[in-house]
Amino acid sequence: MSFFNKFFTREKKEDLNQGLEKTKTSFFTKLTKAIAGKDKVDEEVLDELENVLITSDVGLPTTVKIIERIEARVARDKFLNTAELNGILRDEIVNLLSENNTVDLEDYDLPAQPRPQVMLVVGVNGVGKTTTIGKIAFQHTIRDKKVVLGAGDTFRAAAVDQLKIWSERAGCLFFSKGMNVDPAAVAYETVDFALSHQCDLAIIDTAGRLHTKLNLMNELGKIKRSISKRLEGAPHEVLLVLDATTGQNAIEQAKHFSEATDVTAIALTKLDGTAKGGIVLAISDQFKIPIKYIGVGEGLDKLQIFNKKAFVDSLFE
């Protein structure tokens, strides 16, 4: 296990750097361009900074917040060198990320108790729920944990097959009752299965649903209740999967899903495919829910534990 730890730490950093390459280059080439030929942080530089932040999907409220903070600093220090802007921005971003008081996890790890840990995975259509589940299962399986995947997406065509293939790739157990059955029943029985097979972790998939569909959101509540019915205190984690290419609607999604199911963590997928890592800032700023996983590539091992420090380092390196 320690071998894996070492192995992954080195690789992990490279993946993160690579995954964020697009965010980074576009963020900083834009910023550099914005302040080229200027020696003072003035209105115009701040305007450009606003442009840079917004086009990175940081969103209006969070952008305004960052700008106001920098403005306050400019007012205080009277004269700010543009060369210092990078450092200041970094400070502010670190501040913003740490304000929601979430602890950085170092690696994939499960709490010692209780067993099994139950994770319910929710999100809108096409964000990558099933893929994320496969990747999380893989990380725990290689750490000698016994994992079962529950096929709770009984609605979308071939969703069960898709999850089954992922369980094979990850080398873990798989529980399904087929298509078109009550997902709450699947969830209940997955926990049952995990208990009788002494699993460390049960991850339950759900069908993608738009957060505006009330009856589908209510169904999530039912799924969650049926899990607690079988195992008190479960699910221990409700993971909301968000697509990093999504714009400001991601905020709405986070809002509605937390209302429906008390989301405890967020996985942000497809970060490698977008220049817009900025949504990380918007979500950290506007929600108390920690971002726990980020997807930085397509490979089985390309889902990382989100680490604020590493993220900011990677952005500013």
Partner: protein, 448 residues
């Protein structure tokens, strides 16, 4: 955010009172509001800026902005007209000329390509009398081929697949031969999702395009996409020079600013919009409605159209006659409920009404509100359904047992039914709206 654009603009114009001419200076605040609103709707920042500059020029050139009762409203009209014009243009259908016509479907992961492919096949089959063939060229995502096969079965359209073949080019080629042999007149090629950063995958889609010479290439994009819409749309455009764009997942509450960004960047028309997972929810794109949506003005036209589509004129005439003769019974009531249900998700419907989007966010509109009523009616005998006056205590008791509700609830329902019947009769005989509204309010108690 956008529900308040009217207020914000009105505020921005307040200080204009007393001035008789719009100037760069006094319009600045309003322009900023508009830009912020657009950015909040996920319109690309740069585009929002260029767009508002244009709006500014227009507004400065408009003589009577200040004479208007509400300059804010007039500004919105200018914005709305500009948006509509920008997103509009040639709304040509798709090109299926060829033997067979070939449609290539491409886009990012999770944008909804496979679902769209099935919807398009269903549309071409049911509305255009075509004999489509779906081709499963996503050889990467686990079970993608199964997904397309299942959808194909649901709409009764043939699916060409080679589960063991990992070469999408080969599969596409064989599919074309198969289509010609089996007289399919349209071939829809579903491809794997790809990020624009993946050079190998972008090369692959280019090669597929060059190999099969599609008569129509479509770029499928999630309407919730953010600022990256511009780069993504441009990269796919460079790779396959698509003919049109498909916006998916518009049944959510996204403002869909991407529609503007994409049209602005690549100049290609948006040909279809896709809402919901039912395979018959494919719509043609209307720029004016999209403009309303981006501006948070609701989509009343779509609502009316949806209603019309489900509206059976003969049935309605018969119903009207029945109402007038006071013959409206439980069967009619049930078929009314079914009509409403056919129009789709209730919340989705109501949210199309202007101003309702926000108001409804926390309101419980549940499709299952009907369930209770349905179960009561379905527990009645056919004779009872046709003759509501038959329902005595004995019968009510039996119905209560049948539908698992209390007799009290059955009685309450019947009372409401009578009220409604009365109300409808009043309506048809032209008695005042006031009475009706009052009765509607009483009705609202019975919902869940």
């Amino acid at each position: 955010m956008f529900e308040s654009i009217h207020d914000n603009l009105d505020n921005a114009f307040k200080f204009l009172r007393g001035e008789n001419k719009l100037t760069e200076l006094n319009i600045a605040e309003a322009i900023k509001e508009i830009r912020r609103a657009l950015v909040g709707a996920d319109v690309n920042y740069k585009i929002a800026k260029e767009f508002t500059d244009k709006v500014k020029d227009k507004a400065l050139g408009t003589e009577n902005v200040l004479k208007a009762v509400k300059p804010g409203e007039l500004m919105i009209k200018i914005v709305f007209d500009e948006l509509t014009e920008l997103m509009g243009g040639q709304s040509a259908g798709i090109n299926l000329k060829g033997e067979p016509g070939i449609v290539l479907v491409a886009g990012l992961q999770g944008s909804g390509k496979t679902t769209f492919s099935a919807k398009l096949a269903n549309y071409l089959k049911t509305k255009k009398g075509k004999k489509p063939l779906l081709v499963a060229c996503d050889v990467y995502r686990p079970a993608a081929i199964d997904q397309l096969s299942t959808l194909g079965e649901q709409i009764n359209v043939a699916v060409f697949k080679e589960p063991d073949n990992k070469n999408p080019l080969e599969i596409a080629h064989k599919a074309l031969a198969f289509a010609r042999q089996n007289h399919h007149d349209v071939v829809i090629v579903d491809t794997a999702g790809r990020t624009t950063l993946d050079d190998a995958m972008m090369t692959e889609i280019r090669e597929i395009k060059e190999a099969i010479h599609p008569t129509e290439s479509l770029f499928v994009v999630d309407s919730m996409i953010g600022q990256d819409a511009v780069t993504t749309a441009a990269a796919f455009h460079e790779a396959i020079n698509y003919d049109g764009v498909v916006l998916t997942k518009l049944d959510g509450d996204t403002r869909g600013g991407a529609a503007l960004s994409i049209k602005y960047t690549v100049g290609k028309p948006i040909k279809f919009i896709s809402m919901g997972e039912k395979l018959d929810t494919l719509d043609v794109f209307y720029p004016d409605r999209m403009a309303q949506r981006i501006l948070g003005m609701g989509d009343i036209v779509s609502l009316v159209e949806k209603a019309q589509e489900q509206f059976d004129e003969k049935e309605a005439k018969a119903l009207e006659k029945k109402i007038r003769k006071n013959k409206f019974d439980f069967n009619d009531f049930l078929s009314q409920i079914n009509q409403i249900k056919k129009m789709g998700d209730l919340k989705n419907l109501v949210s199309m009404m202007p101003g309702m989007g926000k108001a409804l966010k926390d309101v419980d509109i549940n499709d299952s509100a009907f369930k209770k009523v349905e179960s009561i009616i379905q527990s009645m005998t056919p004779t009872e359904r046709a003759n509501p006056e038959l329902l005595n205590m004995n019968r009510k008791n039996r119905i209560a047992r049948g539908c698992g509700q209390s007799v009290h609830e059955i009685t309450a329902f019947i009372k409401q039914f009578d009220q409604m019947k009365q109300m409808m009769q009043q309506l048809s005989t032209g008695k005042g709206m006031g009475t009706m509204m009052k009765q509607m309010q009483n009705m609202r108690g019975f919902q869940g």
